[in-house]
Symmetry: C2
Subunit: 389 residues, 2 copies
């Protein structure tokens, strides 16, 4: 079976995501579309608006054949680690190709770019370190480095989606057998665009804002009916749902103890310890904690690590012991799993139990905290069978 992989968040699943699945199928001519999807916490350090099971269900209803969880240790990370986690899982599953959206140009030869980057990787990293003192932004620094080392590549480092695309290409080039890459032109809406787009391709950001502001009916043009229905069945989760727990945590943890949280450094623990006393909501804490050095996303990720009390050791353990956690499949996806089973060299997990719980400890912990959001939310991990569509 010919397979094509996507690395996604589906927060929530919308028309652009359906287009992505259809375009991947058309471009790769594949039999099976495999989506590697973040779990209950997302790349930008936020809880998902719906739990991972609902989002997997939406994807399966709209054309994905198999949904695998991108573990917390890779999902709640900067673009490079997020991409590495996704690409490695696709490779472990023996997926043939990778398809992602780009909002710039789909003409860029990502495979060649990945190889060129790999060839110069240590020089790029050295220069990146050396230019630390310049105070340049990430796009400025990378542009300067490429102009110096690889002048034949003119790249734009300012778009989050394009940065992700380049990260996929770089990780893919490192594989023993790199996948074929199918970049597709994103339709209609920019990543950060916050207004609903009348031509059916609104961004997830715009959809989240429409839901929060109560103009929910407008979504019929932006989302498939199936995922609209899921949205109506459960509350729309955001950070404020976890604010009482986060506040409690920060009020009862010393700065010294906070320092054992993954990525907590440079005295930021003292800043949080002080600011939480004045904050009455998550948004207020974010606004109070924000500095020039710390972007919004970086602080959100840090607060996700605080909420879950994530340590460096937990992240390292999870990265050193990868696994494939199946969230759902249809008949085609199940057949593909059966076909690949023999050649998959890492644990393939369809049921979390006492025997494999230590492997998934961080995801289980994330699920247990996410589950407290509202009372009817089901157990996220133990003894939960994959969704069958």
């Amino acid at each position: 079976m010919k397979s094509c992989g996507l690395i996604v968040e589906y927060n929530p699943f919308h028309n652009g995501h359906r287009y992505h699945i259809e375009a991947a199928r058309a471009a790769s001519n594949c039999d099976v579309v495999v989506a590697i999807m973040s779990g209950n916490f997302l790349q930008r350090g936020e809880p998902a608006c719906m739990d991972k099971w609902s989002r997997a269900e939406a994807a399966l209803q709209e054309g994905a054949n198999l949904v695998i969880e991108l573990p917390f240790a890779h999902a709640v990370q900067s673009a490079d680690y997020f991409a590495r986690g996704g690409v490695q899982l696709l490779a472990a599953l023996g997926v043939d190709s990778l398809c992602f959206g780009t909002d710039l140009s789909s003409d860029l030869d990502y495979e060649a770019f990945g190889r060129a980057h790999l060839e110069h990787e240590s020089a790029i990293n050295d220069l990146y370190q050396a230019r630390e003192v310049t105070g340049e932004s990430y796009p400025e620094r990378m542009t300067a480095i490429y102009r110096q080392l690889l002048p034949e590549w003119t790249l734009d480092f300012s778009s989050p989606n394009h940065i992700l695309g380049m990260a996929y290409a770089k990780e893919n080039a490192k594989l023993a057998s790199p996948m074929q890459i199918f970049p597709i032109q994103r339709q209609g809406s920019n990543y950060h665009e916050s207004e609903l787009n009348p031509i059916n391709f609104s961004s997830a950001t715009a959809i989240r804002q429409a839901v929060k502001s109560g103009t929910f009916n407008d979504l019929s043009s932006a989302m498939p009916t199936s995922s609209q229905k899921l949205l109506q069945e459960a509350p729309f989760i955001d950070w404020e749902y976890f604010w009482p727990l986060l506040k409690y945590r920060l009020l009862t943890t010393t700065p010294e103890q906070l320092r054992s949280v993954y990525q907590m450094k440079e005295g930021f623990e003292y800043r949080l310890f002080e600011k939480v006393k004045q904050a009455n909501s998550f948004q207020e804490l974010m606004t109070l904690a924000k500095t020039k050095r710390y972007t919004w996303t970086r602080i959100q990720r840090l607060l996700t690590y605080v909420l879950l009390n994530v340590t460096e050791n937990e992240i390292m353990q999870a990265r050193e012991h990868p696994y494939i956690r199946v969230l759902g499949f249809d008949e085609i996806g199940r057949d593909f799993l059966k076909q690949q089973k023999g050649r998959v060299s890492i644990p393939l997990i369809t049921n979390v139990n006492r025997k494999n719980e230590s492997l998934l400890a961080l995801d289980i912990k994330a699920g247990q905290v996410y589950q407290t959001a509202y009372s009817s939310l089901k157990q996220q991990d133990y003894y939960r069978a994959p969704h069958y569509n």
Copy 2:
């Protein structure tokens, strides 16, 4: 001004407490009654049913002239430390006498008992250690030791109130100028009695059960009208209010990290770590965690330390730097404070602010967590003036 001290919890304030104040005034012939009262968490490792301000208000309305907070570091402790904290605060305030209830006999000469104990203290402690191996209960062990060392004293070590009375006497004997002791016969009800007593002296336990079971009207015979009114104004807090936070804490703390909690030892951290996964309420966790070695009260105290993430260092800091925190007074109490001010050698605190916050850090933390119980509960410490009756 002649003063008499009481060491109390008022959980909630009832007729027996009013009798205690009246009897103390009559026995000591004092001008001012000073109550040293636990704050928001109590000796047996429970949140108070009402916050410390409401309980102080009730006491002032029913005859106490001055209410001082017994700090967390002394309040949530076994009888000996609880008594030490209370007696030391009374001594620091220059209080002349101490009055407490006993459910055995008020004929016992507690002052002489205190001196006799002090004289033999190291021998008693040595024997106590030596008999560890016998597996005797605390009452059995103490009875055997007294029979051996001080056969002239026939004491009952099985009543919680009597154990507290003896602890007061022992601590009092250690003072440079011991206070006069007025034991009074407790009326009508045993400490643990769980049925409302028709002759107006119900235990706090019986009152709490009546409130929880909804037979609230019966309380008119058990409590002064003023404290009934306070009870009706706010929810009746118990451990279940803090169960979501405690569960979250236990789910997101490793056994290694739990070990840094005060008094956590002997592998009990692993027991909690395991049992919390099965528990759906505080009561369920208690029932699951209970062992022969760990009494209900000991586990409750331990879980209070977990909830507040209390470390040994915090307890030691608080004990080494005592202070007098005023919760409320009437005119007489205020005059007494003015009179004593010059001879009080530890900080006298009527307003918590940035200058003195580090001294009261543990009480402030306890208040911040207690405050999450319901949304209309006021800030417990910062800038809160004593209640004036």
